[in-house]
Subunit: 362 residues, 3 copies
């Protein structure tokens, strides 16, 4: 459950909006004559209580406005116009991007509800004498920072993180508990890495050894991983190091949980991937793409900018044009599925039969 | 290999059955005049040795009974009737639910073969002074328990676990090595969490920021995770915290390895999911559902109670009726697959051609 | 970025080739009259610099030879014959298996660029008094080795690894940071396990308890895991312990990241699986198979030797014959996909309509 701030720590509505960067958002508080409400938290239209702020971003939820118990609701201009003269139990805030304003407010409440990790190195952490810790870093219990690694100023490592030899973190990064960074990995500033993520494990490369009955010779993975600024990486996601060159993740890329990025993949700036996606080796993905959950991208292919892949879709060849691409087998009641699936293995034959019918009719 | 108990520690058959809760199972030991065998372990029909107990639950394995070397075999009533007057090398136990009795016996042997973790806090563990440890807890080496967290009586944490700020574990939970629980997570009693599982990482929420060329603004995830009693969570499974409200997992839910539960998902009581399943955000799953391995559930959909999803199936819309649902592309020899798959991208055209043939025949 | 050796540490070409085992490779250095170049690293044809060695194994990259800046290029005999009399900016090495020679050279450079972990037990590691550490082992910070476990000579454990009770590692294994091995697991020699992998968690076994409204009784998993020699296991991959008998992984098996091997699976020698594969319980896979990324294998099925499964394919029944098997829904532009997918749920009906047309024509 979301924690409410104590009333004495909670801001007034005016102060709250002044404390987040609403530049460019066209925000307007209705009815300034009323007293300035104290805002202890932020909630959904359905759940927000009388000391919370809420928002309407999805027009399908408009009906919830009638039942909403929040103190304040952020609405888009057209809804504001429709409601502004009605007698409402909540204050209105007009904003042309309510969802973005919600994001900023949620960030503000998040910063104020959890103890900020203090600067300092926990005595149980093991820091190599050649590692560089810049100012104001937090290194949690049982962390390990290996030789020649560098942790940028303001970065915070939760319990049990490992940063390998010669790896570099930029400034103001947040590693939650138990993140593993192998040697030779470069990560930019303001990264957020979640627990269980592993950056820089060996790419999967083996040469068949014809002399030895099916045995594989390991191809040592000599490349690294290069991650830009403002990247978020989800829990238990893995990003492998390159074979010879680097695996590259651009600025502002967002990866959800349990994603697998294979060696030598390149991901363009601001591309976002939902959970359970797999990207095979050497594939290149453009900028501003979105990849739906559990989609799979084959190796050695190229996706252009602004390509949107639906969840569960296997992309097996290049996609040059922007647009949305899908390939999901439709589900059905099991018995119905069995009947239709049986035809799939005869489809090319069925097409031949249709051709024959057509010819007979000519 | 399963470890046998030393003969001096092993129970007799009568004592073994008396030591598990067979209430309601209708259990009957044949041939009480014979000496009571000593049972050192439990094995499959094929592998059990002369000091072990075995069981028949799958009727397809009946033929294995002839070759079985076990001391005792648990069989259902109809098999018991067929065998009871034959001269067998093993003792029979009649039970109307042999598989359930096997489960109970396996639990008993498991408790007796591995050293029970002793109560106490390992000196390398880091426990915040405000954390509450109830009676008889075991906190393993290198664990971290953060501020205001509470560990219920009898709960055991393996090496390297992390329990975040204000999170609560019920009593008699078992966390295997390296489980991560973020802040603000509630877990009921008797939970079993396997290594690498991560509970409470941020849900994947970002607002597009139109002013900034494709950049995403993070939506801080202010909700928590609420997990009921008797839940098991597999290795490297991730359960994300809610955006504003909680992600909710009901009582008796069983999650296998490498499952991804996104933010704000609700899972009903006693639902079980096999490995590699992904459930996207805000989806609601009913009670007593089973979800096959690698199935994928889209976000914002609802599955009713007693829905059974086959492995590998993508569920992309609501499923209200109980039943089994499937959607898997049938595999074939590669060249054959290529031919048929080529027709798939022309299916709607093929249907039109069939319609035309039909019309010509009218 | 790959790290170059300092010139004073770098070998000459002749020495480099003498230092890797080229037995059986038919390696020949052209133009022995020229001075022996110093080789500081290894790079791709596109990226290698003037102090590096490169190789051509994929004939499609032949055009890159003209732009290659490497000091030395390894080529197959037919390319060698075509080039040997031309005036090239690089030295040629002829080899009938350039890719295998590259693998061996990459291994050599890998050994020489990263500090070798020294023998010894870090003072923060927690080693049970009954555990056996053989000679020359490295036990990193915050490792835990439990009762009666054994670590073979020359094996190295990175930070935060856990080896459970009675588990055994062979000699010269490498466990990267944060590998978890449960109790009762046997691993052969020269294994490489990547971070976040979990070996020996409970298989997913529950008996329905009809008396209790959908509740599940846990089937304690009494088997272990048996892993052969020369196995590599990727980051966040999970291998579950057997229910009664062991889960078995043969010699030389290579598993990529985020793979799930369920209880009682058997994998034959030298089989390789790409990332995100799931193998359900009790399935048996032959020798020298390759399983493409995100393929899913149902439980209780058998794949013979030399079966090759394409990425994204669900194998739902036995495959006896060697060969390549595929089952992937072809992707398309979303609107086109919608049209075709709508026909899939009417396929058996469409086939009936074709039959009717055919009959009418008879």
């Amino acid at each position: 459950m979301p924690v409410l701030l104590a009333p004495e720590q909670a801001p007034s509505l005016t102060n709250l909006l002044a404390n987040v960067n609403t530049a460019g958002l066209n925000t307007f508080i209705a009815d300034n004559s009323q007293p300035d409400p104290i805002i202890q938290g932020i909630g959904s239209l359905q759940q927000a209580g009388p000391n919370e702020i809420s928002f309407l971003s999805n027009p399908r939820l408009k009906a919830e406005l009638d039942r909403c118990k929040a103190a304040v609701v952020i609405v888009p201009p057209e809804v504001f116009e429709a409601l502004k003269d009605r007698d409402l139990s909540y204050r209105l805030v007009k904003c042309d991007q309510p969802y973005l304003l919600y994001a900023l407010l949620a960030q503000w409440f998040d910063r104020h509800r959890i103890s900020r990790l203090p600067s300092g190195v926990h005595p149980t952490a093991v820091i190599h004498s050649s590692a560089q810790l810049e100012s104001n870093v937090h290194i949690g219990p049982h962390c390990v920072v290996e030789a020649d690694a560098r942790i940028g100023s303001g970065s915070r490592l939760g319990p049990g993180c490992v940063v390998g030899e010669k790896s570099v973190l930029g400034h103001d990064c947040l590693l939650h508990a138990r993140v593993t960074i192998y040697h030779g990995v470069q990560i930019g500033s303001r990264a957020i890495l979640h627990s269980g993520s592993v950056i820089g494990a060996d790419g999967f490369g083996f040469a068949p050894d014809p002399s030895s009955q099916g045995a594989w010779a390991k191809i040592a993975q000599l490349g690294g991983v290069h991650i830009g600024d403002d990247v978020e990486i989800g829990a238990n996601t893995t990003v492998d190091r390159g074979a010879l060159d680097d695996t590259v993740i651009g600025n502002g890329v967002k990866l959800d949980n349990q994603i697998m990025i294979a060696h030598n993949v390149h991901i363009g700036d601001h591309t976002a991937m939902a959970a359970c996606v797999g990207v095979a080796g050497s594939t290149v993905i453009g900028k501003r793409c979105t990849i739906g959950g559990a989609a799979m991208l084959s190796g050695h292919i190229t996706l252009g900018d602004d390509v949107h892949v639906s969840g569960g879709t296997a992309i097996t060849s290049n996609v040059a044009q922007p647009g949305r691409y899908t390939g999901v087998y439709p589900f059905a009641e099991h018995v119905q599925w069995q009947k239709n699936a049986a035809v799939i293995s005869q489809l090319s034959q069925l097409r031949r039969r249709v051709r024959a019918c057509e010819k007979n009719q000519d």
